[in-house]
């Protein structure tokens, strides 16, 4: 009976866990592109500015970001609620980490590719969009998957600012059942994180294998 109740409690948090992970990844995947280009800009000011932002965001623990966003952002009567703060915070952190991953991927595309594209007379935009980025994506897709699995677990930090995701639900169940049964929801939540990350790892291996077959 305890087991069923604990499971029901944790599963209530599942939609928010998924929402947090997916929206943060979406923000990160899109936002990281301009930042990664900025990290490689010819203009030293742009480059340093992007470097500063990335290191700042990565250097501060996620939990601090969430508190700053939830309690520190007040513009007039506007405040971020808990869920918004968590999405923005995890999104920002994702931008910073993915920008670094993208940069590595772009730089790993062989020099000869850009040169051939240049010699063909392709514009710098076409070189980037049609030659460099597709190849960089192949290179970074396993790293993105690894990052996503980590992000999935980091969403649990949102419980500290009262976002009712899985760990938050586990905590409230434990509080109401201060016996050994209180451990159950945490074990179940742990199991769920593993189950959720399995398809990501699987999909990434499939995708990676397919892209590599196409390339090599």
């Amino acid at each position: 009976m305890d087991l069923v109740n604990a499971a029901l409690a944790v599963v209530k948090g599942l939609p928010l866990t998924l929402l947090l992970a997916v929206s943060a990844l979406a923000i990160g995947a899109v936002g990281a592109l301009p930042v990664s280009l900025g990290l490689q800009s010819r203009h030293i000011v742009v480059r340093l500015l992007c470097r500063l932002c990335v290191d700042l965001v990565r250097g501060i623990p996620i939990i601090v970001w969430l508190f700053v966003l939830k309690f520190g952002v007040v513009v007039g009567t506007f405040k971020l609620d808990a869920l918004q703060s968590a999405i923005v915070g995890l999104g920002l952190v994702s931008i910073a980490y993915l920008a670094e991953i993208y940069r590595g991927g772009i730089q790993a595309v062989p020099r000869g590719q850009t040169e051939a594209a240049e010699a063909l007379g392709l514009s710098s935009r076409t070189r980037l969009v049609h030659v460099v980025l597709p190849q960089a994506f192949t290179i970074v897709s396993p790293s993105i998957a690894t990052y996503f699995v980590g992000l999935l677990k980091d969403t649990s930090i949102a419980s500290t600012i009262v976002v009712a995701e899985m760990v938050f639900q586990a905590q409230s169940f434990a509080r109401q059942n201060p016996t050994l049964a209180g451990l159950l929801p945490y074990v179940i939540a742990g199991g769920l994180y593993i189950v959720l990350s399995l398809p990501v790892a699987f999909a990434s291996r499939r995708l990676d294998a397919r892209l590599r077959r196409a390339v090599v």
Partner: protein
Amino acid sequence: MALIEGSALNAERVGIDLEHLSKRYGDTVVLDDVSLHVEPGTVTALIGPSGAGKSTFLRCINLLERPDSGVIRVDRHVIEPGKLVTSRDLAALRRSVGMVFQSFNLFPHLSVLENIVFPQRKVLGRSREEAQDRAHALLSRVGLADKANEHPGRCSGGQQQRIAIARALALEPSIMLFDEPTSALDPEVGLEVLAVMRELADEGMTMLVVTHEMNFARDVSDTLVVMADSHIIEQGDPRAIMSDPQVERTRRFLRAVLER
């Protein structure tokens, strides 16, 4: 179909004029006041020891390397590297000049056909049908009609290099640059590539070829240029230079290559 659209009769014959090109990386001088004229419709072979500046010299022509000083005249384009080069000038220059690399540099994420189609669409604004027709025609010309839907990675080195030649020709350049096109290939496979180049030369393409293939240099090229230590040390008729080099450095280099 000929490799060059329209071929022999009405082909645009364009030469190259390079005047006083100099280039250094830090303290290393790569090119020291090098000048060269290439007559339209001729083949020039560029030989010499490695580190002589051959590749850099070649790459200056389409500005993959920016010389520190000098003047580049290609077709109607005049580029003075010391001055600002607009992206429009650059695009126009590169439209006239095709280039083939030692490492082929085909785009690995695109099919063979798409490697040839996509630049035509982006650079010349051709329709998909037109670009595909041209690509298929060029592929069969280099003997690879059946490879259109393959991925480049599944092709041998010699095939990849022939595809790279087709890709460059699809943009109808008036000049072709070859940077050691057979150096990454084993000798037998290199022959397929050399055969295509020979045909291209017969059709009157203006070609500048950095190479270690002495037979190609002797039999196909109209002019042989020997570079060493950032200079052109000798140039002229290939047979004359090979049988009777005037400069000691050339003699030493040729002996090393031919005795191999």
